[in-house]
């Protein structure tokens, strides 16, 4: 967004810390990162990262459709992500869709997004606003105002709370679906509810790092946590903590270096943390199901 670049340029590096836009970004970013870290951990554990990838494209189309129709961008984000999340859970057996079906569906959804983008940029309301597509794709966390920040924080905290509430049964259903189903855990309902949460998180994360990059916010902290520990609850906490830490580092770097877009700084922090785990020699790891049974 040109607005945020201009404000970052004029504010300069040293005083960016005291600007309201930075405070908003810090507040919203922290809560969004927490939600994304927690949800992402289960997403990786359940091998549903590709679903996150699909939702990242759906988020773009939803936002563009809302803009083209003259609605609030966030309405389109949440409605499209949650609907498609539920749909993907619904078409597959046991709440998981086939990768080829997911890929086919989101390939088309993205084409639809390019249609809405054209519709929006050529329509009267969006003329001269060609940057809207870019800010949806790559995020504009420094462009959030007070009201948007409040909503983002509340929704993100609600998602985090919901994940923590269903963490135990969801973990059981993830690690051993059949046993969990036999013990009376509502596996299918959990799968549906979880993907709805993923949808909400995708909508949230789009506001922070953009629809194309939200996959990194979901996958990187979780991937790092899983490589560091095989105890599920420690991993969950680690994923949330790492995501928040990486968000802070990214925002600080972006405030320090005005040329560096915040989304890039956040992704770089996340990627560096993930890459660092590859340097470390791997311990002999037991299957995580064993660790759960013992913990």
């Amino acid at each position: 967004m040109s607005l945020l670049l201009a404000s970052a340029d004029s504010a300069g590096a040293a005083s960016a810390w005291s600007q309201p836009f930075f405070h908003h970004a810090l507040l919203a970013g922290t809560s969004i990162a927490l939600a994304a870290g927690l949800v992402g951990y289960f997403l990786v554990l359940r091998a549903q990262i590709f679903t996150g990838d699909a939702l990242s494209h759906v988020a773009f189309t939803g936002a563009m459709a809302a803009l083209a129709g003259g609605y609030d961008l966030r309405l389109g984000l949440f409605v499209s992500c949650v609907l498609v999340g539920l749909l993907l859970a619904g078409v597959g057996r046991r709440g998981k869709a086939d990768d080829v079906v997911i890929g086919s569906a989101f390939a088309w959804v993205l084409g639809l997004g390019s249609f809405f983008l054209t519709l929006y940029t050529t329509s009267a309301s969006g003329s001269g606003n060609g940057g809207a597509g870019t800010s949806v794709l790559f995020g504009s966390i420094f462009g959030l105002d007070g009201g948007q920040t409040l909503v983002a924080v509340l929704i993100a905290l609600a998602v985090s709370l919901a994940v923590l509430l269903i963490a135990r049964p969801l973990l059981f259903a993830t690690l051993d679906e059949n046993v969990a189903a036999a013990r009376g855990v509502p596996v299918k309902a959990l799968g549906l509810g979880f993907l709805a949460l993923v949808g909400v998180t995708a909508g949230e994360a789009t506001q922070a790092v953009g629809s194309l990059l939200l996959l990194g916010l979901l996958a990187a902290p979780a991937g790092t946590a899983i490589r560091l520990t095989n105890r599920p609850f420690r991993g969950l906490a680690l994923a949330g903590g790492l995501a928040v830490g990486e968000m802070w580092v990214g925002l600080a770097v972006a405030a320090w270096i005005p040329q560096c877009p915040p989304s890039f700084a956040i992704m770089t922090a996340a990627t560096v943390a993930y890459a660092a785990t590859w340097l470390r020699p791997r311990r002999d790891r037991r299957p995580s199901a064993l660790a759960t049974a013992e913990s």
């Binding site: 990786v44 990262i49 084409g111 996959l215 990194g216 996958a219 991937g223 899983i226 770089t268």
Partner: protein
């Protein structure tokens, strides 16, 4: 361009479109890209490597953005980044079960980071007023004859490589354990395939944009594999479908002011849904016929 009118007379319509040199080039490039992406995509769908394929296809964006920023040839940016990303993904698969959750996390990180790099290059390059949208969503206008020649050469190379590797690759994709036991170099084939996937996506991305390449790879192949289980036939069907939707998309995009990617993906997805509906109906009919036959046999007895 004054918006031309579609006349429903194909001869006249094609004559009108092909009177513009850029449309001739667009149709040529579209045909090459559709055939190559279809053929490689068929193996991608068979190997269930859609996530890797999608990652390689979006990597075209940072490649092109870096080429724009540093001022070297766009083709070099596309091919360099996509092939390099293919090698990185192949490297990360070493010693791990393919398709595991950890591998997909790694793929996701690679994809997001490279896209973020693309955004950085774009932000640093202030000159481009259009923003990244042309690179992401593609443009079929202004394809030069030189580009078509490059596409044709690279496309031929990919098809030749596929023709050589095709049989062992099919074997290794369908049953990796048995193939490995029979002495097929499964690991080397998987690396080679990812590189081929990189070249094919780099090629297609120049026309469809980085975000829509994936549609050309996955949709025709997924449709064909729903319709028939015979490898040769479904490969042929994939190529034909890809070619048809691309040309139909070009025709539609020429006459209507909406983007090419929208038409191509919509046509392809429509066929995909039709194929699923057809299979569903066929199965339902078969079940019904079986039930009727059983009832009839029971009644006769």
């Amino acid at each position: 361009m004054e918006s031309p009118v579609f006349s429903w007379n194909p001869l006249y319509d094609f004559q009108l479109m092909w009177s513009y040199p850029f449309m001739v080039n667009a149709f040529r490039a579209g045909a090459i890209v559709a055939v190559v992406a279809g053929a490689v995509g068929w193996f991608m769908v068979l190997r269930r490597q859609t996530f890797a394929g999608h990652t390689l296809s979006v990597v075209a964006f940072p490649g092109a953005a870096l080429a724009t920023l540093a001022g070297f040839s766009l083709s070099l940016g596309y091919f360099g980044f996509c092939v390099a990303a293919g090698l990185v993904l192949a490297l990360m698969r070493r010693g791990r079960e393919p398709g595991g959750s950890e591998e997909s996390a790694a793929t996701g990180v690679v994809q997001a980071f490279l896209l973020a790099c693309g955004y950085l290059f774009m932000a640093l390059y202030k000159g481009l007023l259009e923003g990244p949208q042309a690179l992401l969503f593609g443009s079929f206008l202004g394809i030069t004859t030189g580009q078509v020649a490059t596409l044709a050469v690279a496309g031929l190379a990919v098809l030749l490589a596929l023709a050589v590797l095709g049989r062992p690759l099919l074997f290794a994709s369908v049953d990796p354990q048995v193939a490995a036991a029979r002495g097929v170099p499964v690991r080397a084939l998987s690396v080679a395939f990812l590189v081929l996937l990189g070249v094919a996506t780099a090629e297609a991305a120049q026309i469809t944009g980085a975000l829509l390449v994936f549609a050309l790879m996955v949709l025709p192949a997924a449709t064909a594999q729903v319709l028939t289980a015979r490898p040769g036939l479904s490969l042929l069907l994939t190529v034909i479908l890809g070619f048809a939707v691309t040309w139909a998309g070009l025709v539609a995009a020429f006459y209507r002011p909406y983007p090419l990617g929208f038409f191509v993906t919509s046509f392809a997805f429509g066929l995909f849904l039709l194929a699923h509906a057809a299979r569903f109906t066929a199965r339902a009919l078969e079940r019904r016929r079986d039930a009727l036959g059983a009832a009839f046999a029971g009644g006769a007895a």
